[in-house]
């Protein structure tokens, strides 16, 4: 169905405008993210960080301009794009009546990913023993987030879209998260991290893009001279 692609750019936005009703979430964004890159999106609240990620996941349609995600038009290959993209949003998208293991299994199977990594992924995020059989309704906010992360780890998507991933996590979980991101990008995935606490991600990111008022208003290279594998070694 979708062209089999090994694109060089993970995300390419050209003069992208996205609207919520009549409100411009993005007012002309230009952004190129290469495969394997880790890009930090900075900006004040309401600058359009979340909207940018949602556009990349194909959740918000592009009103004008051109968007390509993993070389595909997100409007045309909606399902295909969503199977290859993993998003960590504010909500964990869990079903309250299912337990942790069932939630993870459903999400991983839905994306068409291999279910063999589920056990390891849950273990990695400390979801073991009784916790696996706990209903999602009884989880704390931090635990929900860990479940959502376990889904991503098990799915191993090509493009990771992380919206304020550190929010609600304790210090050890934060460093685990950074480790996971670093591993994923080392394995060839791309990560786009939106955060208003850039210092938490700065150690991982290749560069940082600042959004203000729905437009890209600044860009800086964080670790200019370090090529990704070397940096990963450093972080890990």
């Amino acid at each position: 169905m979708a062209p089999a692609s090994s694109p060089s750019s993970a995300l390419s936005l050209r003069d992208v405008v996205a609207l919520s009703g009549r409100f411009p979430l993005l007012a002309g964004v230009d952004l190129e993210v290469a495969v394997g890159e880790t890009v930090l999106i900075e900006g004040p609240n309401g600058a359009g960080k979340t909207s940018l990620l949602r556009v990349a996941a194909g959740l918000v349609p592009v009103a004008s301009g051109q968007a390509s995600v993993l070389g595909l038009d997100p409007a045309r290959y909606r399902t295909e794009v969503r199977r290859r993209v993993g998003m960590l949003a504010h909500a964990a998208h869990l079903y309250d009546d299912l337990n942790v293991r069932e939630n993870v299994r459903f999400a991983v199977k839905a994306s068409g990913a291999d279910t063999s990594r589920i056990g390891a992924a849950c273990e990695r995020l400390g979801l073991t023993g009784r916790l696996l059989r706990t209903g999602a309704a009884k989880l704390s906010a931090g635990q929900r987030r860990r479940v959502a992360l376990a889904v991503l780890v098990a799915r191993a998507p090509e493009l990771w879209l992380l919206d304020e991933p550190h929010a609600g996590l304790d210090a050890s979980a934060r460093s685990l998260l950074n480790e996971i991101i670093a591993e994923a990008t080392a394995a060839g995935a791309t990560a786009i991290v939106a955060s208003h606490e850039p210092e938490l991600v700065a150690s991982l990111a290749d560069r940082s893009v600042t959004l203000t008022g729905g437009r890209v208003t600044g860009e800086r290279t964080i670790l200019a001279s370090v090529d990704p594998p070397a940096r990963i070694v450093h972080v890990a």
Binding site: R78, R82, L94, Y95, L98, A110, S111, G112, R144
Partner: protein, 223 residues
């Protein structure tokens, strides 16, 4: 698509198995409706037996609204609506899966109400296969149209009041067909009594299943 259908239906049925909303709330509601109809029609058996087919289907229609609302609300907690869109499940598969799970729950409900009609109203079933066919086809139609309207109303804040109003007139043909087939079945009618209604139900099912497969994705993206 079929894989996604089963996955989705399995997920919804598992949720039902855990929460038992249909079993502990929707089915008792149907029974209550049957009892209330009996009160309304008086203690004489004759009007109850005469009305049994219609009362069965009216109770089914109202219960199915509840089942659909439950099926919608499963997807509206914790951003599950976005989750479903993000999941990578084929929209047609999502639609068919939801329809399948609602249909499965409604079939159980029909069994309960059917027994209720026989026991409470004293209706005696002569042609069993007419009942089976009408229930099966009617259920598919109710579930498909309901899931479609459920998706349409999912983003609305006042869906609880709007959904029955939108859905019930649409499924009126199911009521008519189901009632007539039941009447034939109770009076030991010949297959000929059921044939046009059989065709009508098939047409209804086909139309709403096809619409859902095509349109469910676009509806979901309308937020």
């Amino acid at each position: 698509m079929w894989r996604d259908t089963l996955l989705m239906a399995g997920k919804d049925l598992r949720i039902e198995a855990r929460s038992r909303v249909a079993l502990s709330q929707v089915a008792p509601f149907g029974i209550v409706a049957l009892v209330l109809f009996a009160f309304a029609l008086g203690p004489d058996r004759a009007p109850m037996v005469k009305g049994a087919p219609g009362l069965f289907w009216v109770a089914m229609l109202f219960s199915s609204v509840l089942a659909i609302q439950r099926s919608v609300s499963v997807e509206s907690t914790d951003g599950a609506r976005d989750g479903l869109r993000l999941s990578g499940l084929d929209p047609a598969g999502q639609f068919l899966g939801k329809t399948l799970s609602v249909a499965a729950q409604l079939l159980v409900l029909e069994l309960v109400l059917g027994v209720g009609v026989v026991l409470l109203y004293g209706a005696s079933i002569q042609t069993f296969w007419l009942i089976a066919v009408s229930c099966l086809l009617g259920t598919i139609g109710l579930a498909a149209a309901g899931t479609l309207y459920g998706a349409l109303s999912a983003g609305l804040r006042i869906k609880e009041t709007l959904l029955p109003f939108l859905l019930l007139p649409v499924v009126a043909p199911v009521l008519l067909a189901g009632t007539r087939m039941w009447q034939a079945a109770l009076s030991g009618g010949t297959p000929a009594n059921g044939t046009p209604w059989f065709h009508l139900l098939i047409a209804f099912d086909a139309v709403y299943l096809a619409l859902g497969v095509v349109v469910y994705g676009p509806i979901q993206e309308t937020a």
